[in-house]
């Protein structure tokens, strides 16, 4: 009952300054849309990283002319690691066949090559788990020391680079979110200040005829919250639109990059965070300005 009256007054305020409200809501929407799209980017890169790291395997290239016992020793080592899920042996011959199959279409002269330049190898796959990449890294370093091993590949460079990039992206996201948040608090506080100033006489009169401070402030706080909420809803709709468009346009390329990963949208918790922070920003901005205006009017 108390709030429905105040809500009416807040809506009246919004309506009585439609252009300013529109400017502030759309600035809100634009800013939160940008933030939302960055979050979409982050969510997807994160899921991509998960998918890829799920596919990480160690390829252990072997020295030529290893004896059976040496191979057995290595295999025992693999079996001793509880993280390893599968071991595949690729002989020199098999490697050469595969290589030729891959490239024969393009260069015929490989056929005539007299000897096989490729080494034999083991392909190790790993069980999923939280410290997966770390475990793989440790095991790879252990294997590298073995005399049987010629060299070793497990895409460590790009994985760690990608991980660093994700950290950077997270920091960047927080920084830009903080900056946009400050800017938006400034903008909302300005809008509410103008709304309050345009009602300065009304506020003064309310004080004079015995209204409580809470009674005076509440509609302005609601006004700020409404603007924040409206901006967030618009932003989420716009971001969802962009997301849908991109899914549609680039579904092929996405499928290529990450076969089993969809192009994701921000999850429910992300949506809640966006919505919650926009409401908080709206509330804070209006709280600051209405308090200032109230003090100013109440001065003398």
């Amino acid at each position: 009952m108390f709030y429905s009256k105040h809500l009416n007054r807040a809506v009246d305020n919004l309506k009585s300054n439609p252009q300013t409200s529109l400017v502030s809501v759309s600035t809100f929407a634009a800013a939160f849309c940008i933030l939302g799209l960055f979050m979409v980017l982050y969510v997807n890169l994160d899921s991509l990283l998960a998918t890829w790291s799920r596919q990480v395997q160690i390829i252990v290239y072997l020295n030529d002319d290893l004896k059976k016992p040496q191979l057995k020793k290595l295999e025992a080592l693999f079996a001793g690691n509880s993280e390893v899920s599968s071991v595949e042996y690729v002989s020199r011959q098999a490697a050469w066949e595969k290589f030729k199959n891959t490239f024969s279409a393009e260069t015929e002269f490989l056929e005539t090559l007299a000897f096989n330049p490729l080494p034999a190898s083991y392909n190790l796959r790993f069980k999923p788990g939280p410290r997966r990449v770390e475990n793989i890294r440790r095991f790879a370093e252990e294997l590298r020391e073995r005399p049987e091993v010629e060299s070793l590949e497990y895409g460590e460079k790009w994985i760690s680079r990608f991980e660093k990039f994700m950290v950077f992206l997270k920091v960047f996201l927080l920084a830009i979110g903080g900056l946009l948040g400050l800017g938006l608090i400034f903008i909302i506080s300005n809008t509410i200040r103008l709304s309050a100033l345009s009602r300065k006489n009304e506020i003064e009169l309310m004080l004079m005829i015995g209204a409580t401070h809470r009674y005076i402030k509440t509609p302005f706080l609601l006004e700020g919250v409404l603007q924040g909420a409206a901006g967030a809803v618009l932003a989420l709709l716009a971001a969802k639109g962009v997301h849908a468009y991109m899914s549609f346009q680039f579904s092929d390329s996405i499928a290529k990059i990450a076969r089993d990963a969809d192009f994701l949208f921000i999850g429910p918790s992300g949506i809640l965070i966006l919505f919650g922070s926009s409401v908080a920003v709206g509330w804070l901005g209006s709280y600051i300005s209405i308090s200032k205006v109230l003090n100013m009017v109440n001065e003398s």
Binding site: L205, M206, M208, I209, G210, A211, Y215
Partner: protein, 218 residues
């Protein structure tokens, strides 16, 4: 009811607006305040409902020590008081009815009693027919009467009226005076600041004359 003890008031350190004022206005009494332009009449009224702070002295209104009330609590004092402002202070975006109803709304009255009491107040100042007009569409005197209706609508214990008949012709001035007298007979304390010597003479109530911030004759 209203007591002032050695009250001093200067505006931002300049020439004093009120000098050593001591007054007693009893409950249910009717008092005029007169004095030349700039004598301090409006200032005195503003002190009584806590709108301006004073430099020294004591003011007691309805048992409350006005100088000691916190800003956030002043509404408790103000809900006992109705004020007619020299410059009306009507809200241009609200209709006449809404302007008067506003004084009830801010105290959280029920919608039904607001309708009822507002209509009553408008009838008593003869403006019920203009209830849907906006202040801009009224003559100066009509606006003044809306201000009077708003001050009376919540039936306050004290009425502070600052030049309530400044824009009214003598006939309507007398009617407004009668309105205040009726309210006074029903128990309202009335403090009436005016230049209108004729009105003061005619009504024959006690009056206080201010001259450059000093009480000349209590």
């Amino acid at each position: 009811m209203i007591q002032l003890y050695n009250v001093f008031k200067t505006y931002n350190g300049n020439t004093p607006a009120l000098v050593d004022i001591s007054l007693l206005i009893k409950e249910r009494s009717f008092v005029f305040i007169t004095g030349a332009s700039g004598a301090g009449k409006s200032t005195l009224l503003k002190l009584l409902f806590g709108w301006e702070r004073f430099d020294s002295g004591q003011i007691l209104v309805k048992g409350m020590n006005v100088g000691k009330i916190k800003k956030e609590k002043l509404y408790l004092l103000r809900r006992h008081i109705g004020v007619v402002f020299q410059d009306y202070k009507l809200l241009p975006n609200k209709t006449v009815f809404e302007n008067v109803a506003f004084a009830l709304e801010v105290t959280g009255a029920s919608a039904r009693s607001i309708r009822y009491k507002t209509s009553d107040a408008l009838k008593s100042v003869g403006l019920f027919k203009k209830r849907d007009s906006h202040p801009m569409q009224l003559s100066g005197g009509e606006q003044q009467r809306v201000g009077i209706a708003r001050a009376l609508v919540h039936n306050p214990a004290i009425l502070l009226a600052d030049e309530p008949t400044g824009n009214l012709d003598p006939d309507i001035s007398l009617e407004i005076l009668k309105l205040f007298e009726m309210a006074n007979q029903q128990g309202m304390t009335v403090v009436f600041a005016t230049h209108n010597h004729e009105l003061v003479r005619r009504a024959n109530y006690p009056f206080i004359i201010l001259d450059k911030g000093n009480v000349v004759r209590p």
